[in-house]
C-alpha cells in the first residue's frame, strides 16, 4: 500500500524524457527555442495553478497578479541596479509574489465559488492598474522594463537558445517534482479533501482556510518565479504579464491540457503557443487561431472534461480502476451487508484524558433562536462518559439544531456546551473535532472521488497533525499511527474488501458505514451519530445496529435516530425534545412509560376539540 500513495516514478521519468528530447524533436516541427522556453514558463505557473484549481478546486482568475509581481520585482531590482545577482533577484521576486498572494489570499479564501473567482479576478485587475499608473516610475508603465540581464552559472552567462532552455527545463522539473510531492503528502491529501467536500474536511478537524491560504501562496510563488524567468528569458519584462488575458490564458491552457494532471498547463501551452505561431503563417486562417482555440476550449468544457493529458492518464489508469470497481454490487442487496468483526478496537487512545467523574458532554441552557422561531430553548442535559445516549423527538423538535450546537457547527443564542468540563462553545467544528468530538451526518458527507482508504486517512490525519501543518515533503501514508487508525476504522465498519475502491461506486449501505467510519477514524472521545440508519434496508439496519453497539463499547456515543426499535435496544439513556424544549430525560423504560412523551409523539399535547 505504501508504494501506491507515493506513486510510481513514471511521471517523473516521463517528464525528464520529454524535456530531454523536446529540443531535438520539436525544433523541426516549427518550434523555436524561444517558444519552448515560453511553454516551460507557462508550464511552471501552471504547476502552481493546478495545485490551486486542479487539486483544491479553487478557480482563480488572478494569477497574473503574482506572475507580474514576481517578474517586475526581479526585473526592477536588476534593471534599477539595486542588486546585481540575477539568482537573488529571482528569489526576491518569487518571495514578493508570495507576499502579495498572502494578502490577496487572506481576503479571497474566506469566500467560496463565484465569490472566490470574482475576488481573484478583481485583485488581478487592481495589480494591473497599480503597475500601469501609480507604480509606473518603477515598472516603466506601458513600456515595461527592457534590459533584464541573464543569470550566469560558474561565471558563464546562460545565454538565449539551448542554455536558457536547459535552465527552464531544470526549474520546471524541480517544480514538477515538488508539486507531485505536495500532491501526495498529507498536506496534499487535505487539499484534495477540500475539493471533494469542504465542509467535511473542516468537520474532521482540518483548518480549511489555512490550507486554502497555504496553497494559494504556493501557487503565487510558482507564478512569481515564472514571472521572473519571463523577464530573464526575453531580456524584457512586459506589462501584459499583469493583464487579465494572462490569467485567462492560463485557465484555458490548463483546461485544454488537463485539469489536475500537473502537466496539463504545459500541454495546453504547447498547443496554444504552437497554434499561435504557426497558424498565423497560414493565409486566410491566420487570424482565426484564437477562435479555434476558443472553440476547442468550449468543446472540452462541454463534453470532454479530462483534457489532453487527462485523457492520456485515463487511458493508463482506466483498467486499474475498472478492476477495483469490479465486484462492487450496483444496488445494496443483503449480500452486501457485512456484519462487522468484533475484536477490541485498536483505535488510538483518546487524546484528551477523560475525567471519569465529569460527564463527557454537558449542555447548559442552550438555546437557538432564528428570528422569532425558537428552534431550541433552554435545553440542559448530560451525556455520561462511556454511555450510549439517544436524543429523540417528533419532527421540528430541534434535534438537528441541538446536535449542531453540541459540535459548535452553529453558535447557540444562549447557553454553553462543556466537553469533559471544558467549554467548547465558540470554538467552531474544526476545533471541537480536534478536542475529540466526531460526528457522522444524516446525509452522507464523503470524499466521493477518493478511495475508502483515502477517505479514512483524511479523518485520521486531522488529530495526528493538528488543524494545520505544511508537511509538503513526506508521503501521506508515512505516519504509522495514522495508518493503524485507518486500518482499525476500516475493519470496524467492515470495508477492508473495498480499501482501494473509489467511494462513488460503493453501494449506499457501504457509503453509510463509511460515513460512520470517517467519524470514527478521527479518534473521537465523543461520537455524535445523526440518523446512522437513515435510508438503510432492514438487513443493513441489523448490521449497523451491531456496529453502533460495538463502537459504543469503547467510547461515548450520542445518537439521533427515528428507528425506535434501534433506540430502545441501544440507548442507556434517552433525552426527548419537543418543540425545542426538553420534555423528558431518563432510561428507556422511564421514557416508554412517560405519558407526556407518548402524547408528544401523537400530537396530543395540545387539546383539539373533536369534530
Amino acid at each position: 500500500m505504501a508504494a501506491r500513495v507515493r506513486g510510481t516514478l513514471w511521471p517523473e521519468l516521463a517528464v525528464v524524457a520529454v524535456l530531454l528530447v523536446a529540443p531535438f524533436v520539436l525544433l523541426p516541427l516549427g518550434f523555436s527555442y524561444d517558444l519552448l522556453q515560453r511553454i516551460l514558463d507557462w508550464g511552471l505557473i501552471g504547476l502552481g495553478f493546478d495545485l490551486l484549481f486542479g487539486a483544491t478546486g479553487l478557480l482563480s482568475f488572478g494569477q497574473a497578479a503574482f506572475y507580474g509581481t514576481g517578474g517586475f520585482v526581479a526585473a526592477y531590482l536588476l534593471v534599477g541596479h539595486v542588486i546585481a545577482n540575477v539568482w537573488l533577484a529571482l528569489v526576491l521576486g518569487t518571495i514578493a509574489a508570495g507576499l502579495v498572494g498572502l494578502v490577496v489570499g487572506w481576503l479571497a479564501v474566506r469566500r467560496i465559488g463565484i465569490y472566490f473567482t470574482m475576488i481573484t479576478l478583481a485583485f488581478g485587475e487592481m495589480a494591473y492598474f497599480l503597475e500601469n499608473s501609480p507604480l509606473s516610475h518603477y515598472t516603466g508603465g506601458e513600456n515595461g522594463l527592457p534590459g533584464v540581464p541573464v543569470p550566469s552559472l560558474g561565471g558563464m552567462p546562460i545565454s538565449a537558445g539551448l542554455p536558457m532552455y536547459w535552465l527552464l527545463a531544470v526549474l520546471f522539473f524541480a517544480g514538477f517534482v515538488l508539486a507531485r510531492r505536495i500532491l501526495h503528502s498529507p498536506f496534499g491529501a487535505v487539499l484534495r479533501a477540500i475539493k471533494g467536500n469542504t465542509t467535511r474536511t473542516g468537520m474532521t478537524g482540518h483548518s480549511v482556510p489555512a490550507y486554502k491560504l497555504a496553497v494559494f501562496v504556493i501557487a503565487a510563488l510558482y507564478a512569481g518565479l515564472a514571472g521572473g524567468l519571463l523577464g530573464v528569458l526575453q531580456s524584457y519584462m512586459p506589462p501584459d504579464a499583469f493583464a487579465l488575458d494572462t490569467s485567462g490564458q492560463l485557465v484555458v491552457q490548463t483546461v485544454i491540457g488537463g485539469v489536475g494532471t500537473l502537466v496539463g498547463p504545459l500541454v495546453g501551452a504547447t498547443l496554444w503557443l504552437w497554434l499561435r505561431d504557426n497558424l498565423q503563417q497560414v493565409p486566410h486562417v491566420g487570424a482565426l487561431w484564437k477562435l479555434i482555440l476558443g472553440l476547442i476550449f468550449v468543446l472540452l468544457v462541454v463534453v470532454l472534461k479530462r483534457g489532453i493529458a487527462g485523457e492520456i492518464r485515463w487511458a493508463f489508469t482506466r483498467r486499474r480502476l475498472a478492476a477495483a470497481e469490479a465486484g462492487v454490487p450496483e444496488e445494496t442487496g443483503d449480500a452486501a451487508v457485512m456484519p462487522p468483526t468484533a475484536p477490541a478496537l485498536p483505535l488510538s487512545a483518546p487524546l484528551v484524558v477523560a475525567r471519569t467523574d465529569a460527564p463527557a458532554l454537558r449542555a447548559i441552557g442552550v438555546s437557538k433562536f432564528y428570528g422569532g422561531l425558537h428552534a431550541v430553548e433552554n435545553v440542559s442535559f448530560e451525556v455520561r462518559t462511556g454511555s450510549i445516549h439517544a436524543v429523540i423527538g417528533p419532527n421540528g423538535a430541534g434535534k438537528s439544531t441541538l446536535f449542531k450546537m453540541l459540535k459548535d457547527e452553529i453558535a447557540p443564542t444562549a447557553g454553553e456546551v462543556l466537553l469533559f468540563g471544558r467549554r467548547i462553545t465558540g470554538l467552531g467544528p474544526t476545533r471541537t473535532a480536534q478536542l475529540g468530538i466526531g460526528k457522522s451526518n444524516q446525509l452522507n458527507q464523503l470524499f466521493l472521488d477518493l478511495t475508502v482508504t483515502e477517505n479514512l486517512r483524511i479523518a485520521a490525519l486531522a488529530r495526528a497533525r493538528g488543524t494545520f501543518r505544511a508537511d509538503l515533503w513526506r508521503a501521506a501514508d508515512s505516519l504509522p499511527a495514522v495508518e493503524r487508525q485507518v486500518a482499525a476504522a476500516m475493519e470496524t465498519v467492515g470495508l477492508i474488501h473495498r480499501a482501494d475502491v473509489p467511494v462513488h461506486v460503493l453501494p449506499y449501505g457501504e457509503k453509510r458505514r463509511l460515513e460512520i467510519g470517517i467519524a470514527l477514524a478521527t479518534g473521537p472521545n465523543v461520537l455524535l451519530l445523526d440518523e446512522p440508519l437513515a435510508g438503510m434496508s432492514p438487513a443493513e439496519r441489523v448490521a449497523t445496529r451491531a456496529l453502533v453497539r460495538e463502537i459504543g463499547r469503547t467510547r461515548t456515543l450520542l445518537i439521533v435516530e427515528h428507528d425506535m426499535d434501534a433506540i430502545f435496544e441501544l440507548a442507556e439513556r434517552i433525552t426527548v425534545l419537543y418543540e425545542g424544549r426538553l420534555l423528558a430525560d431518563g432510561t428507556p423504560d422511564e421514557i416508554q412509560g412517560n405519558q407526556a412523551v407518548q402524547d408528544a409523539y401523537l400530537g396530543g399535547l395540545h387539546e383539539h376539540e373533536p369534530a
Partner: protein, 291 residues
C-alpha cells in the same frame, strides 16, 4: 485640491459611467440571481452590442434603427446562447459554468475579430447628440448628458419590468427559490431563457449606447466585465437595487478619484471593494442567500 468646476464635471462623468455600469451590472446580476450562473461572456456581449450598432449605423446612418435592430439581434444571441450552451450547465458546478461562459466570451470576441479585424471602429454621435451644453459654469458634451437620461430611463424600464410585470414577478421569485416557482405551475426553465435573454439585451444595449463615445474594438468589453463584477460585489449578488446603487458608487469612485490623481482611479475602486469584502461581505443590498 481640484477646483470645484473640475469636481463637478467629474461628478457628471461619474454619473454617466455609473448609470452605464448599473445597466451592464443589472443584466449580470439578474442572470446570476435567477440562474445561479456568473456570466463571464457579459463583457463580450457588451462589445457585440457596440458592433451591432456600428454595422447598422454604417449601413443606414440611423442611430435609432441601430438600437432597435441591435436589441433584436442581442435577443436572438441571448436565446441561442441559453438554448445551445448555458442550459447544459444549470446542474454543473460554478467552476464549470464560469469556464463555459468564459469560453463563449472568447469565441464571441475572436469571432468579431475574425469578421471585422482588430482595428478600432467608430460610431458617429447621433445628430441630436452633437455639440456641447452649457450647464452654469460647466460645459458638457450633449450626448454624454443625454446618455445619462437615456440610461436612467432604461434602468427605470428594467425596474418596471422587474417590479410591475408578471415576468418580473417570476424573476424576483426565481432569485429566491426557483424550485418553488416550478411547484406553483410556472415553467422555470422558460423563465430562465427570458432572464438570460433580458440580461444579454441589457449588456448589448449598454454597448450600443456607449459606442459613440469610445473606440469600438473586440477587447472593449473585458474591462467592463471586471468593473461590473466589482459593482455586483459592492451591491450584493443577485440584487437589482444593489446593481444600480453599486454602479453609481463605482462610477463616482472612478471619476472623482481621477479628479485628484487619475493614476489611482481604478485602484481606488478595487480598494473600496476589498474594504467592503472585509466589513460587509454580502454587499450593500445582498442577503446571505444563494451563491
Amino acid at each position: 485640491m481640484p477646483s470645484a468646476p473640475l469636481l463637478l464635471s467629474q461628478a457628471f462623468n461619474g454619473l454617466a459611467l455609473g448609470t452605464l455600469l448599473a445597466l451592464v451590472a443589472s443584466g449580470l446580476t439578474i442572470i446570476l440571481g435567477t440562474l445561479g450562473v456568473l456570466n463571464f461572456a457579459h463583457g463580450a456581449l457588451f462589445m457585440l452590442g457596440a458592433y451591432a450598432m456600428y454595422v447598422v449605423t454604417a449601413q443606414t446612418g440611423s442611430f435609432f434603427l441601430g438600437i432597435l435592430v441591435g436589441a433584436a439581434f442581442m435577443l436572438v444571441v441571448g436565446v441561442v446562447l441559453e438554448r445551445g450552451l448555458i442550459r447544459l450547465f444549470y446542474g454543473r458546478p460554478h467552476e464549470d459554468q464560469i469556464l463555459v461562459t468564459f469560453g463563449a466570451g472568447i469565441v464571441i470576441v475572436e469571432g468579431v475579430r475574425a469578421l471585422f479585424g482588430a482595428n478600432t471602429q467608430s460610431v458617429p454621435t447621433p445628430s441630436w447628440g452633437q455639440g456641447i451644453v452649457q450647464l452654469g459654469f460647466l460645459f458638457y458634451p450633449t450626448y454624454r448628458l443625454e446618455l445619462i437620461g437615456i440610461v436612467a430611463a432604461l434602468l427605470f424600464v428594467l425596474y418596471l419590468i422587474l417590479y410591475r410585470t408578471s415576468i418580473g414577478l417570476v424573476v424576483r421569485a426565481g432569485i429566491e427559490d426557483a424550485r418553488m416557482v416550478g411547484i406553483l405551475g410556472i415553467n422555470v426553465r422558460r423563465s430562465f431563457l427570458l432572464v438570460f435573454a433580458l440580461g444579454v439585451v441589457a449588456a448589448g444595449v449598454s454597448g450600443m449606447l456607449y459606442a459613440p463615445i469610445v473606440s469600438v474594438e473586440p477587447d472593449m468589453g473585458s474591462s467592463f466585465l471586471v468593473e461590473a463584477f466589482v459593482v455586483i460585489v459592492i451591491g450584493g449578488l443577485g440584487s437589482y437595487p444593489g446593481a444600480v446603487v453599486g454602479g453609481l458608487i463605482a462610477g463616482e469612485i472612478i471619476s472623482i478619484t481621477s479628479a485628484f490623481n487619475s493614476a489611482y482611479s481604478e485602484v481606488m475602486l478595487y480598494a473600496v471593494m476589498a474594504l467592503l469584502l472585509v466589513l460587509r461581505p454580502q454587499g450593500l443590498f445582498g442577503s446571505e442567500g444563494r451563491v
